[in-house]
């Protein structure tokens, strides 16, 4: 029993529920917060003591379900999800209400459930719990826009869940009740074992279910739509889990699936165009997240050990630096009330610490030497080079210059520098700063470990966490110089565009994206269908009414008191008609007989 209750997913989920249910007079706020922080810490400490293998198994309807399967791929995600839960909780202590950290930790527990699931049923269960609990983090903003965005978000998450369930059921149907059919592992290989290729519908449905949460092109707009509508803390939790466990699921089930290379390549490139013209700086970060997920998807598609290591390492680093950037923009949102690039500027004067930490996040996402993405994204880039994907490499290089442009420069520049907006506010609250410092320190540590390894021969604990052994040198002369050239010349392009006035000004606006298809076109079609239905209904009702009235009138005319059939007849005329009928009958009878 303890194995179940103390498994990372259930410990965090049940723990947060118990803390939420505890009466305030029994559990003062500070004690509750201390216990809430102790949850991920204790859970990670317990997890660290476990070896690779299966835990918390039970039988249900003849199926063996495995809630906890620890292997090198799931381990690294378990570690970062605990860290994200801890950092997110600390960050969210800026509000007195503990609802956000409680839901955040519960959501983290469900995400842990996804990455630890040893079978498809357990995966599906936590997949859905994560969908619902994360929607609460959108709604917690309690604005009209958040209500709508949260509903659309939940709708898309449910579509993913339905696709996954349909895929699992079909898989069960096609593969039969062979032992281990429900094991969550390489589906491509598993299906091929059964004589079924990737065109197999079950695998395609599961692939799309994962792809929707990993923000594949055209399936991505729920992320852009919902995350920026959440609260400062809500967005930090949201940015950490759903998309990353989708990356884990793809890495688990579809490594080396070549379609992922071009899907990922597209994901790295198209969002950066949107990010350049987007005004809401947290929405810029959402586009930037799609772009970073693209790098991970490419890595999974390439599928070599180096590439998978790169994808997983980049997911780890992204949770930290994207969380840091969301935290910095959340601090601005909290202090200023909005994060519109058009109306911000000069905040470095009021929020110098947040500015500095945001710049660390910006340098990390841009893959500057010494910062985290330099030690993670380069694994994916090198994997593309080794497999000689020339055009893909050019796209990734362009996306790398682009990410520096919109996330590395645009975010800090328009929020904290640019023209002085005249806004004077307080520095971010202490809890926010502590959380940002933790994320910044971790981002820098990831970037510095390989350097320490090279110079001092110290171990690289981050690379040791990766699923495959790492034989890769990050800090080569070529890599440091070429990456710096790419980034500094990208910065020069930005500065030139700003000074020549060619850079498009930040404008209060909305840019159409794929969600336009259901928020506008879909709505119009729905309105059209509804109008057509109403018109048909009205016409049908009118025609039926008229026909009924006519029938009633005819019946009344013939059957009413004055009607031909309704009035009293003479007995003599009736006898006459009976005689006529009898005669007619006799004629017919003899005619037929003859």
């Amino acid at each position: 029993m303890a194995e179940f209750l103390l498994s990372p997913p259930l410990l965090l989920m049940l723990g947060s529920v118990v803390l939420a249910a505890a009466p305030r007079n029994v559990l003062p706020r500070t004690v509750l917060r201390a216990l809430l922080l102790a949850l991920p810490v204790y859970s990670l400490w317990r997890f660290w003591g476990l070896d690779f293998g299966d835990y918390a198994q039970f039988k249900l309807f003849g199926q063996t379900l495995t809630l906890v399967r620890i292997d090198p791929l799931s381990r690294i995600f378990v570690v970062i999800f605990h860290l994200a839960a801890l950092i997110g909780s600390i960050y969210s202590f800026y509000v007195k209400d503990n609802f956000q950290p409680l839901v955040g930790v519960f959501y983290a527990g469900s995400a842990l459930g996804v990455v630890l699931a040893g079978d498809l049923w357990s995966l599906f269960l936590f997949w859905e719990v994560a969908a619902v609990s994360s929607a609460l983090l959108v709604w917690v903003r309690r604005s009209g826009r958040a209500a709508g965005a949260g509903l659309r978000y939940l709708g898309m998450q449910m579509v993913s869940g339905v696709l996954l369930l349909a895929g699992i059921v079909l898989l069960r149907h096609e593969v039969g009740a062979a032992p281990g059919w429900a094991e969550f592992r390489n589906l491509t290989g598993f299906l091929e074992d059964g004589g079924l290729g990737f065109t197999n519908l079950a695998a395609t449905l599961i692939f799309l279910a994962f792809g929707l949460k990993a923000a594949f092109p055209l399936l991505h707009s729920w992320l852009i739509d919902a995350y920026p509508e959440s609260t400062p803390a809500g967005a930090v939790f949201l940015s950490a889990f759903t998309t990353k466990f989708a990356i884990y699921a793809l890495a688990r089930a579809f490594p080396g699936q070549s379609e992922l290379i071009w899907i990922g390549g597209l994901m790295t490139a198209f969002p950066i165009f949107f990010a350049v013209i987007e005004n809401d700086l947290r929405r810029v970060l959402a586009y930037s997240m799609t772009n970073q997920l693209g790098f991970m998807v490419v890595g999974i598609g390439i599928g070599t050990e180096l590439a998978i290591n790169g994808a997983v390492a980049h997911a780890f680093a992204d949770i930290l630096f994207k969380g840091l950037l969301f935290m910095a923009m959340g601090a601005v949102l909290y202090r200023v009330g909005h994060v519109n690039g058009s109306d911000l500027g000069g905040l470095y004067k009021s929020m110098p610490i947040t500015t500095g930490l945001c710049i660390i996040g910006a340098a990390s996402i841009s893959a500057f030497p010494l910062f985290s993405a330099f030690a993670t994204k380069s694994l994916i880039m090198s994997a593309a080079v080794y497999k000689e994907y020339f055009w893909l490499w050019l796209v990734l290089l362009f996306a790398s210059a682009g990410v520096f442009h919109h996330a590395g420069i645009k975010i800090p520049f328009f929020a904290f520098f640019h023209h002085d907006s005249g806004i004077r506010c307080k520095e971010a609250p202490r809890s926010m700063i502590v959380a940002m410092v933790l994320a910044a320190a971790a981002s820098m540590a990831i970037g510095l470990f390989p350097l320490a390894e090279m110079w001092f021969g110290t171990a690289n604990p981050f690379y040791e966490l990766l699923p495959y052994p790492v034989h890769y040198e990050v800090y080569t002369t070529t890599h440091v110089i070429t990456q710096s050239q790419l980034l500094f010349f990208s910065a020069l392009a930005f500065a030139t565009l700003m000074r020549t006035g060619l850079y498009p000004p930040e404008l209060r606006s909305v840019n159409l994206d794929a969600d336009w298809l259901y928020r506008r076109v879909g709505l119009r079609i729905w309105d059209g269908v509804a109008a057509a239905f109403t018109a048909t209904h009205r016409t049908g009702y009118a025609v039926a009414g008229r026909l009924a009235a006519a029938a009633l009138e005819t019946a009344q005319r013939h059957l009413g008191p004055q009607g031909f059939l309704g009035r009293s007849w003479l007995t003599a005329s009736m006898a006459l008609w009976v005689a006529v009928l009898l005669a007619a009958y006799l004629v017919v009878f003899y005619w037929r007989l003859g």
Binding site: V276, V385, Y386, G402, F489, A495, L497, L502
Partner: protein
Amino acid sequence: MAHEDHGKQGGKTYWLDRKGNVAKVFYALILIDVLWLAADFLYKKKAEFDAWGGWADGGFGFYPVYGFVGAFLLVLAAKQMRRVLMRSEDYYERRRGGGSST
């Protein structure tokens, strides 16, 4: 808006509030870029790709040119996208409103 005015609002004029200093930052960036470009003379790169005569990842100045041109064109292309994609802030709130507002 004049930078100086706002600097004084906070009771203090910051270094970056002076326009001349912003220009200094720009020139410093140009200098840094020239130095990074010059760094290509200091070592020998090994080309992994045969495409473009090995210039792509082995030749002089590829990364600077690609970074500058790529970022420059990215912004200009994105700017043109606004013509098609940009709508007013409350576009989606006006459910039955006109669809072609800007």
